[in-house]
């Protein structure tokens, strides 16, 4: 019997999504039994040209993690799109741009300067930056070029499904792969997690009063917070109201507030703006000066509200 073929690839990511596949633990063996992994650069030895020679549409599904920030990533994403019947954006970076998408608050040039010149621990007296082409004696060396902005996967290629999370819970990956194998998939374009916001299923929702009133936003280091009570009710910012649920409340159970890695719920485009709206309504003041003061207690609101979704938000970055 011919087994379905699966490929996994990474772009601009930290490797956490790859780890999430490994975290399937024994389940990975069942999957390996049921499918042929034809390409997985992190874990197994394959050549890029093997993939290029694969007939179009031969791969049943490809999971791509990481945002698109460089030429080679765009190139591979396009090749894998051709070769695969299904493309699954795996993890926050492929889904929304992720944390790496926060680089869109800066120009590509500033990012390079920071990393290669300005960081105090870097010593680079000649001010050398990575170049696409370098001549070394008589040889020409080349590196992939950096794009000016970070993009989510669906801004480069068509994406069939999304597995959200930073990284996605292994359980969601397992369910997604099973759904692919059994051909039991929801409508194209679906995010394979809950439809509703995290607050709907949050174990602390009972402790959330009808009206949360916030006089000052507190930061985690400032207080010792109650491990059972709603974070927002304690003045701690939690992105639960504007974030898709289905994560298994990993952060909440570890007594940390939600940071929004599952992205917006269905029908919401801009998670940051939606969260801003929700959060603003909880502020307990009607005085302009006091409102300024309260909002000043959030040092980096854009970075916080758009932590995972900047690259796929309406403005996509600094304009």
């Amino acid at each position: 019997m011919i087994k379905p073929k699966i490929a996994l690839y990474w772009c601009s990511s930290c490797g956490g999504c790859e780890e999430s596949v490994i975290d399937l633990a024994e389940d990975v063996l069942d999957i390996a039994e049921a499918v042929d992994v034809v390409f997985w650069p992190v874990a197994m030895d394959f050549k890029y040209k093997d993939i290029e020679m694969t007939p179009d549409g031969e791969i049943t599904a490809t999971l791509i993690n990481g945002a698109i920030r460089m030429d080679n990533q765009e190139h591979m994403a396009k090749i894998l799109r051709k070769k695969s019947r299904l493309i699954i954006a795996h993890g926050s970076c492929a889904h929304l741009g992720g944390v790496v998408g926060l680089a869109n608050f800066y120009e590509g040039r500033d990012v390079l300067n920071k990393a290669y010149k300005d960081v105090p621990t870097v010593e680079n007296p000649q001010g050398i930056l990575p170049m696409v082409e370098t001549k070394e004696s008589d040889r020409e060396l080349s590196l992939p070029s950096l794009h000016n902005t970070v993009k989510a996967l669906d801004q480069i290629i068509e994406v069939d499904y999304y597995i959200p999370g930073c990284p996605p819970p292994p359980e969601l990956i397992r369910i997604a792969i099973e759904a692919i194998l059994q051909n039991d998939l929801p409508p194209k374009g679906s995010v394979l997690a809950e439809k509703k916001a995290l607050c709907n299923t949050c174990s602390r929702s009972d402790s959330k009063p009808d009206k949360v009133r916030i006089k000052r936003f507190k930061r985690l280091y400032e207080i010792e917070w109650d491990p059972k009570r709603c974070f927002l009710d304690q003045g701690l910012i939690c992105l639960g109201p504007a974030t898709r649920g289905g994560c298994g409340e990993r952060c909440i159970k570890a007594n940390m507030p939600c940071r929004g890695c599952f992205g917006p719920t269905d029908h919401v485009i801009d998670q940051g703006a939606k969260f801003l709206s929700a959060l603003a309504s909880l502020i307990d003041s009607r005085d302009e000066k006091e409102l300024e003061k309260i909002s000043d207690s959030i040092p980096d609101p854009a970075g916080l509200f758009y932590r995972y979704s900047l690259a796929s938000s309406i403005l996509k970055g600094r304009i």
């Binding site: 030429d71 170049m131 801009d270 309406i314």
Partner: protein, 163 residues
């Protein structure tokens, strides 16, 4: 050179500021014609996404006019607008949108002069600030950098694409 004619989107509340714009018209007073008015039932209804979307689609300024605090037809809609505005202003600044491009103010149905004053000030400021996205120096996206910078030796072919 053609003078910069900004697009300014104004969200006006049905009960006061939209009524006020009507009064201005009935009184045959003049105000800058570049204002594009969107009538909403309440300033509190304005989702921050509307404002962000307006900027994305090329608005050079966004103006929200609601009922005076305490006068909201729905009791507290304008307070909600005020809270969202205060936070959003900070966020927009981080996106590179100047604070003078986004304004919230209150006008009642009869304050025609105040309406004209706010609108004129807004138009004036936005005209001074110019368009949000400066014109690109080159049509070739692979070498032009946003902000009209020229590609230097370090960035030659090293950074690709605009926003």
């Amino acid at each position: 050179m053609i003078a910069f004619e900004p697009k300014i989107i104004a969200f006006l509340c049905n009960w006061c500021s939209y009524e006020c714009a009507d009064s201005v018209g009935r009184a045959q007073k003049e105000y800058p014609s570049i204002l594009r008015i969107v009538r909403v039932m309440c300033s509190g209804r304005i989702d921050p996404q509307f404002i962000i979307e307006a900027f994305r689609r090329g608005a050079a300024g966004v103006l929200i006019l609601g009922c005076h605090p305490g006068d909201c037809h729905y009791k507290e809609g304008n307070y909600q607008a005020m809270k969202k505005y205060t936070l959003l202003k900070k966020v927009l600044l981080q996106f590179g949108i100047d604070k003078d491009r986004f304004r919230l103010d209150w006008v009642s149905a009869k304050e025609t002069d105040k309406f004209i004053k706010i609108v004129s000030e807004m138009v004036e400021k936005v005209k001074q600030l110019g368009p949000i996205i400066p014109p690109q120096p080159s049509m070739n996206p692979s070498v032009s950098l946003p902000g009209g910078q020229q590609a230097g030796p370090f960035t030659k072919g090293g950074i690709k694409g605009g926003r």
